[in-house]
C-alpha cells in the first residue's frame, strides 16, 4: 500500500529551509482558508459548515493532538480523555460566570486545573499494567461527568448558562456567531500544540516516550525514569484537553454534563487510531475526517451513525496503522530475522 506519510517525509527531507517554510506556510494558509469553502462540495447539509469547522473539526484536531501524546507517543491507552476537556470547560464556566476573569485569563487556570487532575489521575493509574489503565481512565472520565451531574455548584444536569465569550483581542471581536474568528483562534492553538509536540518529540522526552511505548521494561532498565515520563505524557495531554475545554465553553456559552460523555473519549481515540497513531499529521487528518464525516453524511438521516460505524470497520481493516502511519521509512533488509 502506498505510504503517503513516507512520500511526504521524503519531500520534506529533500527540501531546504526556505522550501520548508513555504510548504509549512502553504499548509497553514490552506487550513486558514477553509471557512471560505462553504459554498463548495465541502459544505455540510443542515449543520452550519463554519460551525462544524469549529466543533467538532478543529476541536477534535486539538484534542486528538493532545491524546496522541498519551496514546500515540507513549502507548498509554486512555479512554477517559474527555475528563480533561470537561475540567477545562467547567473551569471556564465557573470562573467565567462567577468572577470577572475573562477567557484569556482563565485559559492558563483551566490548563493548570487539567494538568493537576492529570497528576491526580496519573500517579495511581500509571503504576498499573497497561491494559488496566484503559478501564481506570474510563472510570475517571465517568467520575468527572457524574460529579458535574450531582454537584449543585456545577449546575447539575442543567449545566452552566451564560458563559461569556472571549474579550476582543487587537480589535478582533468574539461574538458567539463569529465562527471564523473562533476557528482561526483554534488554529493558532493547534499550531502551538503541534509546535510543542514536535519540539518534545525530537528531544529527550520524545525518545523516552518512544522507548516506553515499544518496550517499557527495557526502557526502565536502560535508565529511563518511565513513571515520570508517563505522568508527563498524561499531564501534557491533559493540558491540551483542558485548553480545548476552556475555549469550547467560551464558544458555546452553555455547558452541561451531556457534553462530556464517554462517547467523546471514544471518538477522539478513534480519530487518533484512524488517522495514524503516533504521527501528528495522521492524527490531524483522522480528526478532520471523523469530525467532518457525520455532518457531511447528514443526508443519510437515520442511518448516518450506522454508516459511520461501517466506515470505521472498513478503514481499519484496510489501513490498520491509520491513514498516515508513523514512520516506517526503511525497506526491510533481505536478511531480516523475526
Amino acid at each position: 500500500m502506498i505510504n503517503l506519510r513516507d512520500k511526504g517525509a521524503d519531500i520534506w527531507e529533500r527540501s531546504n529551509r526556505i522550501e520548508r517554510t513555504f510548504i509549512a506556510l502553504g499548509f497553514i494558509a490552506l487550513a486558514a482558508s477553509l471557512p471560505f469553502f462553504g459554498g463548495t462540495f465541502l459544505n455540510t447539509p443542515i449543520a452550519d459548515y463554519e460551525s462544524v469547522l469549529v466543533y467538532p473539526i478543529a476541536m477534535f484536531v486539538l484534542m486528538a493532538i493532545g491524546l496522541n501524546i498519551v496514546i500515540g507517543k507513549s502507548g498509554l491507552l486512555d479512554l477517559g480523555y474527555v475528563a480533561f476537556f470537561a475540567i477545562g470547560a467547567y473551569t471556564m464556566g465557573l470562573l467565567g460566570t462567577r468572577t470577572s476573569l475573562n477567557t484569556w485569563e482563565i485559559l492558563p487556570i483551566g490548563i493548570a486545573m487539567a494538568m493537576f487532575s492529570g497528576v491526580i489521575l496519573g500517579v495511581p493509574a500509571l503504576k498499573l499494567r497497561g491494559d488496566y489503565l484503559a478501564i481506570i481512565t474510563l472510570g475517571f472520565g465517568e467520575i468527572v461527568r457524574i460529579v458535574a451531574l450531582n454537584l449543585g455548584t456545577l449546575g447539575r444536569s442543567e449545566g452552566i448558562l451564560n458563559i461569556p465569550t472571549p474579550p476582543s483581542v487587537f480589535g478582533v471581536e468574539y461574538s458567539f456567531d463569529s465562527h471564523r474568528i473562533y476557528y482561526w483562534t483554534l488554529l493558532i492553538l493547534i499550531l502551538f500544540a503541534i509546535w510543542m509536540v514536535r519540539r518534545l518529540s525530537v528531544r529527550r522526552a520524545g525518545r523516552a516516550w518512544e522507548s516506553i511505548r515499544q518496550d517499557e521494561d527495557a526502557a526502565e532498565l536502560m535508565g529511563v525514569p518511565t513513571f515520570k515520563y508517563k505522568v508527563w505524557a498524561f499531564v501534557l495531554g491533559a493540558s491540551v484537553g483542558g485548553a480545548a475545554g476552556v475555549f469550547y465553553a467560551s464558544k458555546t456559552l452553555f455547558i452541561a454534563p451531556d457534553n462530556f460523555t464517554l462517547q467523546i473519549s471514544i471518538l477522539i481515540l478513534a480519530c487518533v487510531v484512524f488517522g495514524g497513531m503516533g504521527n501528528i499529521w495522521g492524527v490531524i487528518l483522522g480528526a478532520v475526517i471523523l469530525g467532518y464525516l457525520p455532518d457531511r453524511i447528514r443526508f443519510l438521516s437515520d442511518a448516518r451513525l450506522l454508516v459511520f460505524g461501517l466506515v470505521l470497520v472498513i478503514m481499519m481493516n484496510l489501513r490498520p496503522d491509520g491513514l498516515l502511519p508513523r514512520k516506517k521509512r526503511e525497506k526491510p533488509l533481505p536478511k531480516q530475522v523475526q
Binding site: D48, V54, N150, F254, R304
Partner: protein, 382 residues
Amino acid sequence: MKKRGLISVAAAAALAAASLVAYAPASNAAAKTITLAFQGPLTGEEAQVGQDELAGMLYAVKLFNAKNKGKYVVKVVRADDQGDPAQAAKVAPGIASNKKVIGLVGAAYSGATIASLPFYKQRNLAMVSPSATRVSITDPAAGAIGFPVFHRVVVTDKVQGPSLFKLATKGVSSPKVFVVDDQSAYGVGLVDYMKPGIPAGQSAGFDSVSDKTTDWSATIAKVKTAGANVVIYTGYFPQAAVFFKQLRDSGYTGVLAGGDGVLSPSFVTLAPASVLEGVRLTAGTVPLADISDKLEADFQKKMGKASGVYAAESIDATNIFLSCVSKGVSTRAAMLKCVKKFKGKSLTGANLSFDKNGDVAGGVMNGFEVKAGKIVFTGPVK
C-alpha cells in the same frame, strides 16, 4: 473473498440507508413551498423522543398538505441534534442561516434548546417546542433567555411538579412520599419544583438514579426502609416501567405516580397490566388515543407506528405554524409575529395561546390512571 464480503455489507447498508431517506412530498408547480424545521434527537441513545416528535410533526404536515393540495406544500428539514447541546450548537446556526426555514418545531430537549437559542434569536426564527420544559428558558427571574423567539406548548415543571404531588397523594391518608428522579434536567427540575410544596412529615425520602440503571434493588430497599406508601418517579417511561415492575414484584403495594415523561402509549406495553394497574400520571395534554381512538388509529395508519410521548404537543406545535402558513405567512418576521399572537385550539379542544415569555397560557395539568393495561384520562388535577 474477504473484500467482497465487506463490500457487500457496505452495499447492503447503503441500500438500507437509501430506503430510509425521508419521503418528500412531490412539489406542485403552482403550489407555494414552505419549509419548516424539526430539531431533536433522531439518532443515538436519545433518538426515541425525537423520532416520536418528528412523527407527530410529519403527521400534522401530511394532513395539511393533503388538505391544501395545489395551494401549499410544506416541507420539513430534519435537524438531528442527538439531544446533545454540543451537536445542537452546530446544527442551530445551519438552520438559522437556512433562509427557507421560517419556523422550527423544537428543540426537543431543554439543553439543546439553550445551546441553540442564541442563533435563532439572532436570525429571528420562531421556535415552538413540544417538550422543552425547563423553567429557566422562559423564566424572567432567570433572564428569560428564550425571549422573544422561544415558545412552548408544554406546561413547565413549575406547574407540573406540585400537580404531580397533589395527584399522587390524592385520597391517601397520611401519605409518605418517596421521590425518585432520573438525573436528567427534566426529572431533577420536576423534583426541585415539587419539593417546596411537600408538607412536613409527608416526605419519606429522595433518590436520584441514572436513566441507564437496570437494577433498582437499592432504590427499592430505600423505599421499603422509609416505609413509603407513595412513590413518584420523575423521568421517562422506559425506566419507569422497569422501576415500577421491580418495585411491585418486590411486594410494594402503595401508590405509583409519574409525570408526562411517563405518559406514553408505549408505557403500558413495557410491563404486565397487573403491575401497572393504578399508576397515576400527570401531563399537560393527553395521548392521542385518549383524545380519540380514531385519531390514534389514523396516526398509526399514516405514520406506520404508534404515537409517542409528546405526540399531541408536536402536532399542536406544528399546527400553530401551519395555521400561520394558511394565513399567507411566508417570512420569518411574519411567522414570529403570527405565532406570538396565535389564539386557537389544541388537539384536546383547550384554548391555546402564549404569554409574553412564550409559555403556554393557562395550561392545565391533567390526571391519568392506568386501568387494565390502558391509560385513562381522569380529568384535570385540582
